[in-house]
Amino acid sequence: MTFLKQMNTEDIANNLKSNIVNLLNRPEIADEISDQTELFNMGMDSVILVSLVVQIEQEFEIFFEDEELVAENFQTIELIVERIIEKMN
């Protein structure tokens, strides 16, 4: 957890980007994805989203309430990072 607390916004965003690219199985888009990219336009669907949520919960030792599981909370890396930081604090 100490290690996780030391992660800054950029580290979390990079970690997310790498997970997303792997889940989408599209390594070629790694350079295209910015923090503001609409992930659903890059091929994200509900199964990938929930898989990402499960990964985030395990890696960052946080928990998303069921009510938070809606697409609008996971539209961009920026939005997801904000939620993760909020929960880690």
């Binding site: 659903f40 336009n41 890059m42 091929g43 994200m44 669907d45 509900s46 199964v47 989203l49 929930v50 898989s51 949520v53 499960v54 069921d66 009510e67 599981l69 809606v70 697409a71």
Partner: protein, 305 residues
């Protein structure tokens, strides 16, 4: 009004600038689906578009015509499509079902998922132009992609619509259509979803299948946005009611996500209980929406009968 139902979105897009599209969306909140192998699906040869075809022609005049021949080969039907597109008749739009798997403009499905999907299509300067109101795409697509997505679609359908002149549906036909199948107590989607959850409750070792069983539930949930068009049609613009409808749509999306999560979880029983509770919550929200809609309709009917 976008992203309600790809077939109806094509019609709405073709008529809304001159005609009231809202009557066409009556009842779409309970659009057809079937349950096959414990999966709720709206893609099936058993489901036709006859209900909407009949309803459109009943309300707007006999201007929506099915050109696709189900008994004929895909290649012959594709020739028909090419001929129709080359004819370029004034005020005629072509609606066709393609498989999104072969269409590069939709990255979630392209070369990943087979999804039959309706779009508007025409030819300009010998180039195919797709207008996809549901997904918000308009642009040129290579003939090779059109042909593949048409000929390899495991279903298949095609219509043309003379979108001018039409008649605007009057209050008597609107009442007839609305009353025909509006029942406050009916909620087939909830009923069938409960039956599927009960199956998994009794067969926990199979609960991994929850994801697949409800993989199309989010789309069926989105169709509930048609309630908003009905409230507007019956002249009730309450923001509270619109919020209830949005809560319903988000609730179904949420239910779909919870199913995926439950299928990945080791504690299936606890997650199934949550899913049953979620269904009860959605059932209550929708019943309240329906009661409000019925009251709005009664008021509207008094003003126009």
């Amino acid at each position: 009004m976008k992203q309600i139902h790809c077939f109806l979105d094509c019609i709405v897009d073709s008529i809304y600038s001159n005609y009231d599209h809202r009557p066409l969306l009556l009842g779409v909140w309970e659009s057809s689906f079937i349950v096959e192998n414990n999966k709720i699906t709206y893609f099936s040869e058993k489901l036709t578009h006859d209900r909407y075809l009949k309803r459109f022609n009943q309300m707007y005049g006999d201007k929506l015509i099915e050109w696709y021949e189900y008994y004929s080969s895909k290649e012959n039907n594709f020739k028909k499509l090419v001929n129709l597109a080359n004819e370029e008749k004034e005020n005629q739009v072509i609606i066709v079902q393609l498989d999104l798997y072969y269409l590069p403009y939709e990255p979630r499905s392209f070369m990943k998922k087979h999804l039959p999907h309706f779009i508007l299509i025409n030819k300009q300067d010998n180039k195919w132009i797709i207008n996809d109101p549901y997904l918000g795409f308009k642009g040129q697509v290579e003939e090779e992609h059109i042909k593949n997505s048409f000929c390899n679609n495991h279903l298949g359908a095609g219509f043309y619509l003379h979108n001018y002149p039409l008649k605007n549906p009057d209050s008597s036909i609107i009442s007839k259509v609305f009353e025909e199948d509006f029942k406050i107590e009916n909620n087939l989607l909830i009923q069938k979803s409960r039956e599927i959850l009960s199956f998994y409750s009794n067969n926990l070792e199979l609960a991994k299948g929850l994801q697949e069983s409800f993989s199309e539930i989010g789309i069926l949930g989105k169709r509930k946005i048609s309630y908003i068009a009905a409230f507007e049609l019956f002249e009730n613009k309450s923001k509270l009611i619109a919020n209830n409808v949005r809560q319903l749509i988000n609730g179904w999306q949420h239910f779909g996500f919870l199913c995926i999560k439950a299928s990945m979880s080791s504690n299936k029983q606890e997650n199934l209980s949550k899913l049953f509770n979620k269904l009860s919550e959605l059932e209550m929200i929708e019943k309240e929406v329906k009661e409000n809609l019925w009251n709005s309709y009664q008021e509207w009917n008094k003003r126009y009968e």
